[in-house]
Amino acid sequence: MQKLGEHIKKQFPIFSRRINGHPLVYLDNASTSQKPRAVIDALSTYYKTMNANIHRGIHTLSEEATDRYEQTRTRVARFLNAASPTEIIFTRGCTESINLVAATWAAAAIRRDDKIIVSALEHHANLVPWQELARKKRARLDIIPLTAELTLDEKRFHTLLSRKTKLVCLTSQSNVLGTVPPLRRMIKAAHTVGARVLVDAAQSVGHSRTNVHALDCDFLAFSSHKMLGPTGVGVLYAKKEILEMMPPYQYGGDMVESVAQRRSTYRPAPWKFEAGTPNIADVIAFASAIDFLEAIGFDAIQQHDADLLSYARSVFANYHRVQLFVPEGESSSVLSFTVEGVHPHDVATVFDVQAIAIRSGLHCAEPLVRLLGVEATARMSFYLYNTRSDIDRAARALEKVFKVFSLTLPRSGIQPLA
């Protein structure tokens, strides 16, 4: 534990920042993580020493940039335990990765009266593209409901599955509740009816080891920016046999093999999915983020997350005006909560005055927040640089919320911080 938390904060320049006169406490990691100096340096080193377009120059710089870009692809493949780097497509982010599948494979494979299944836990990024596709194709969209314990109703999932099911879309960790669905079991079940499975790994990929081979998922999508990497880079993993059948995504330079005036042929996967100049600098810097995470190791990260979550639960559970939304026994890195009589936005504003960054609102998961029966929630989400003392500061900010809003609270009797 000594490796993470306070010690590692020094490697993240942003923590020298003060907000409203206080040192920053950053508890909005499910939105995006902060960046270590190694990643920031990789970005500026690229621009200072190597900047060139890739796949289209024989000069030294272009060759170096191309090598580093393709090395990152190999690095990502190894990180995910993919069979080959050619199973890795770079996109703009998790959202684009999912939309790419919707626009190519799913647009071709899904027909009228077919079924797409999504879970009630999904972020809008893994829900809205499927709503649209289902509408266009006149296919059916089924939702796996939640249990009272805030986990997925697996029984219901099994009854939803049928030969008509072509695609199942599942998050690997809810960005609101932290719920981790039993992916391996669910993927196996989906495959028995011949359905493909897309995993939205945005929330888990920076916190626990991702092994696409062991999962046996068909597609897996995530963003670099939630795992210490730069914004503007996403990954789509897809099984080789599927990629080869998929039509291209966008058309233009780089993705073509040969172009005649009226007809063109396309490069093989993954390059046929990467039209135009990609986000070279950020992709290259993303490799440094993966190196950073792997040097620490996911065992240590998960242990750290678990410690922070259980500490935050125990501290926040002391306040009887606070309701926590988290499955019992789940070890994730997010904790949604509400304060009786105070809107989550007002909670977040009071926290911000104390330089504590949390998220409030619907978290791009409006149907899920509605299921919880609240207007919105406040959410703390943790990462490797957070400490128990960050949570103590959050608890003090929470007491400030009670103080500011005590007028509007129906009962008094705030319990002081233990």
Partner: protein
């Protein structure tokens, strides 16, 4: 904690003009997609004057207090004068400066009111 002034907390705790009208001249339901705040605003107009106005809403202290203050300020006013209301007027009513992120909360009531006025104008044209 300047943002949550006595005035704002008072209007949040005891919103003025809470409720709905049986026969409003115009009714608008306005959402803030960012946070799910919602306001239902009813307005009754006679001889171009605001004779009554009510709102029901769920949301943060800023959106609810701003709406309460705004409706308080327009009683008996000629609706033509309401067309000139600006976002700055709402900020002045609140008596605080709000951050960019909270500006949308503060302006929810004004947005609803502006829509209601547009509806009233269209009605009159018909």
């Amino acid at each position: 904690m300047d943002l949550y002034s006595e005035t704002i907390l008072d209007h949040y705790r005891y919103p003025r003009h809470r409720g709905s009208l049986l026969r409003p001249s115009a009714r608008v339901v306005q959402h803030n997609p960012l946070c799910g705040d919602v306001i239902k605003l009813d307005i009754a107009v006679r001889d171009s004057k605001v004779v009554d106005t009510r709102f029901l809403g769920a949301g943060c202290a800023i959106s609810q207090a701003a709406t309460s203050l705004l409706l308080d300020s327009i009683q008996g006013k000629n609706i033509r004068s309401l067309e000139r209301l600006t976002r700055q007027n709402v900020i002045d009513l609140l008596g605080i400066s709000v951050s960019k992120a909270r500006e949308q909360c503060a302006q929810l009531g004004l947005t609803a009111l502006q829509k209601a006025i547009t509806m009233l104008k269209q009605k009159r044209k018909r």
